[in-house]
């Protein structure tokens, strides 16, 4: 339902509360805790993206090869991701989380999350991952414009995301329409 993506939600408070309930945190929302909540939600989202992405066959050595997620410059999210993915699988694949620094090589990864950083560093990381069959996720204001496939945004204190289809197609990734259905914006390639 892409046409509905632009409709602003008016149930922000309720949804925020729902998020709190989902993630078991009913404590009052201080600045610190809001930050922690944001990390947890983002980590959960990143983990669940795996269910809606189809990688090309050559991205894995075997059907049971692990799904490798690289987290660049966002250790808190990496920790959270590692915690919630422990013992769980995406499809049939175990999940491996790698903490990376900016500038480290980005090969052998299936998902790359690039934490908050400068536009130049983000561009460099995205450029480095270009051509690889890896889903790139950013949390910058103009993440999609800089070449990221998915970009987290905070809308009314709620974590949402936008999707750009062109870079995903270039990396031979198929994004499920069901994921697109819950994306805030989907940038489709010009016809």
């Amino acid at each position: 339902m892409p046409q509905l993506r632009t409709v602003a939600t008016r149930l922000l408070a309720l949804l925020a509360l729902a998020v709190l309930i989902v993630f078991g945190n009913s404590a009052p929302a201080s600045g610190q805790e809001l930050q922690a909540t944001e990390y947890r939600v983002k980590a959960a989202f990143i983990f669940k993206f795996g269910d809606y992405i189809e990688w090309p066959a050559e991205a894995f050595r075997s059907p049971s090869s692990p799904l490798v997620i690289g987290v660049v410059g966002a250790d808190a999210i990496a920790d959270e991701l590692a915690r919630l993915s422990a013992g769980r699988v995406v499809g049939e694949r175990p999940v491996v989380v790698r903490k990376l620094r900016h500038g480290e090589p980005l090969s052998g990864l299936h998902m790359i999350f690039i934490g908050r950083t400068s536009a130049a560093q983000l561009s460099a990381a995205l450029a480095a991952s270009k051509g690889q069959p890896a889903l790139t996720i950013a949390e910058a204001e103009d993440g999609l414009r800089l070449g990221s496939m998915i970009n987290f945004v905070i809308v009314s204190d709620k974590v949402r995301f936008d999707v750009a289809l062109s870079p995903a197609e270039a990396s031979r990734l198929k994004i499920s329409s069901r994921l697109l259905a819950v994306a805030r914006n989907v940038v489709a390639p010009a016809p």
Binding site: L11, V19, Y52, V182
Partner: protein, 522 residues
């Protein structure tokens, strides 16, 4: 259509058709409705289940990425299914995530989702369906929809009723027309039969309309009518003849009865004439006999006087002649006496009294013995014989019979005479039996005629009037007399003194001898 009894065959036929139609209709409707309701239930539950599955699948990512708005929008799509009253999505933890309610429906949702499954609650179908992705339960879909089984049943009953009524009306109209095919030929026969019975017109025939069993019935009926017609004609002809015969007979009978009346008149006339003539004759005979005695007595008297007064002057030859004159006058006197007796028997009244026949017979025999003391005759008279009769006449009859018996046993070696009676409860037949000369039965019918003699006068004396006199006496008593005899072996005379006693005469007398009757020789 009238309810005329004679048309009841039509009503029955229509009734049968309507009942059959009704039965078939009910069975068919029940089958169809049952099938449809089952199909409805199956289809609707499958449909709702699919709907829930679809909503769940569609909303899985919305729950995963915590997008209640998308889930809400997914639920809103259920607007296209107006049977859905309400729907909701719960998160894996059981919290309400998104809700939908049909406009007008109550916005009520369970606080927590129940176990997966469906149930029918009144007119509603309630369904819970888990949302599963990769073996992970993401949440639950709640659907509440109309369940129209009851209203459908109601609708169907209405439709079935309407269908039945219409079908029955159509069936009635059709059968009212179609039954004519069956009933018309039968009613035609019935009509002809009724007319035949009412008008007695056996020349009518039923029209044959078909070649089926009714056609065969028509043929048989017509054959029967033809047969009846033929017989009726024959009967009429024979009736006519019979009528003629009857008329003829009536005429003849009338003629006969007329002749009878005439005959009776004539008989009465003749009888009267005869009686008058008889009476005159008897008077004449009586007076003649009576008057004849006076000159006879004179002849006899003067003959005797001649002999007594002139014993010497009359020569011996003349004396002999005179003796013969006297003997002849004696015989003539006897003859006159007998004739007088005969006429006396016919005259005078009949006074029946109780008569001791045994005693009477003994007196008569005694008198005969005194007159002819030389004869030795064994006479047996049964004891205790009695009868209601005229004493004077009965004595005359017994005198005649016993004198005859006495006379005709004169030449018998050992003369025997028996007087007895054969009797049963009502009748008695008396008999006088002797072992004398007897007679030939060839002359038995002439025996009782006056002046009829079976023996010459020289052999046995007698006037020939005695048995005629006896017969007349029996007749006067209403009885009869008859005889049984054999030449040389004796004769038996049987007589009865009352009408009816003669009935026994056909039986041999020997068999009639009553052993209780004492037989004592006198």
């Amino acid at each position: 259509m009238t309810l005329d009894f004679s048309r009841s065959l039509r009503l029955k036929l229509i009734g049968v058709i309507l009942l059959t139609t009704l039965a078939a209709l009910i069975i068919a409707l029940v089958a169809i409705i049952t099938y449809d309701l089952r199909a409805y239930h199956r289809n609707w539950t499958a449909d709702v289940s699919t709907q829930a599955e679809l909503v769940g699948r569609m909303s899985a990512s919305a729950i995963a990425f915590d997008d209640a708005r998308v889930a809400q929008e997914n639920l809103e799509l259920l607007r296209l299914r107006p049977q859905v009253q309400a729907a909701a999505i719960y998160t894996a933890r059981g919290a309400l995530f998104a809700t939908y309610a049909r406009p007008g429906a109550t916005r009520e949702f369970p606080k927590l989702p129940e176990a997966e499954g469906m149930r029918i609650d009144g007119g509603e179908l309630v369904l819970y369906k888990r949302i599963v992705n990769d073996k992970e339960i993401l949440g639950t879909v709640y659907l509440r929809t109309d369940y129209e089984l009851v209203s459908r049943v109601r609708d169907y009953v209405g439709i079935a009723l309407a269908t039945t009524i219409i079908a029955m009306l159509v069936a009635m109209l059709m059968s009212a027309q179609l039954q004519r095919v069956v009933t018309n030929p039968i009613l035609a026969i019935a009509g002809v039969a009724r007319e035949v019975v009412q008008q007695k017109d056996y020349s009518r025939r039923a029209r044959k309309m078909s070649d089926d069993e009714v056609g065969a019935l028509v043929d048989s009926f017509n054959d029967m009518l033809a047969e009846i017609e033929r017989r009726t004609e024959e009967l009429e002809v024979s009736n006519l003849e019979l009528g003629r015969h009857v008329a003829e007979r009536v005429r003849v009978e009338q003629e006969v009865s007329r002749l009878n009346v005439e005959l009776e008149d004539r008989v009465r006339d003749r009888t009267a004439q005869l009686e008058a003539a008889n009476h005159e004759l008897e008077s004449f005979s009586f007076s003649v006999s009576h008057d004849l005695r006076a000159p006879l007595r004179a002849i006899d008297g003067f003959s005797q006087a001649l002999l007594e007064d002139f014993p010497d002057e009359v020569p011996e030859e003349a004396k002999r002649y005179l003796a013969r004159i006297r003997s002849s006058t004696l015989r003539m006197g006897q003859l006159i006496e007998d004739l007088l007796n005969l006429s006396r028997v016919s005259r005078g009244s009949l006074d029946r009294v109780a008569v001791d026949v045994s005693e009477l017979a003994r007196q008569v025999v005694h008198e005969i013995r005194q007159r002819d003391a030389d004869r030795v005759v064994e006479v047996t008279i049964w004891e205790g014989m009695t009868v209601q009769a005229d004493l004077r006449l009965l004595r005359a009859a017994l005198e005649n019979l016993l004198e005859n018996a006495w006379k005709f046993t004169a030449k018998a070696e050992h003369a025997r005479i028996e007087v007895g009676v054969l009797r049963d409860r009502e009748h008695q037949v008396f008999f006088v039996r002797d072992n004398g000369a007897g007679f030939s039965m060839d002359y038995a019918d002439k025996l009782f005629n006056p002046f009829q003699r079976l023996h010459s006068a020289a052999e046995y004396s007698g006037s020939g009037i005695g048995l005629a006199t006896v017969q007349r006496i029996m007749y006067r008593h209403g009885g009869r007399i008859w005889a049984d005899a054999k030449v040389g072996k004796g004769a038996t005379f049987y007589f009865t003194l009352a009408a009816g006693d003669a009935d026994m005469r056909e039986t041999p007398p020997q068999a009639r001898e009553s052993p209780v009757s004492p037989r004592t020789p006198s």
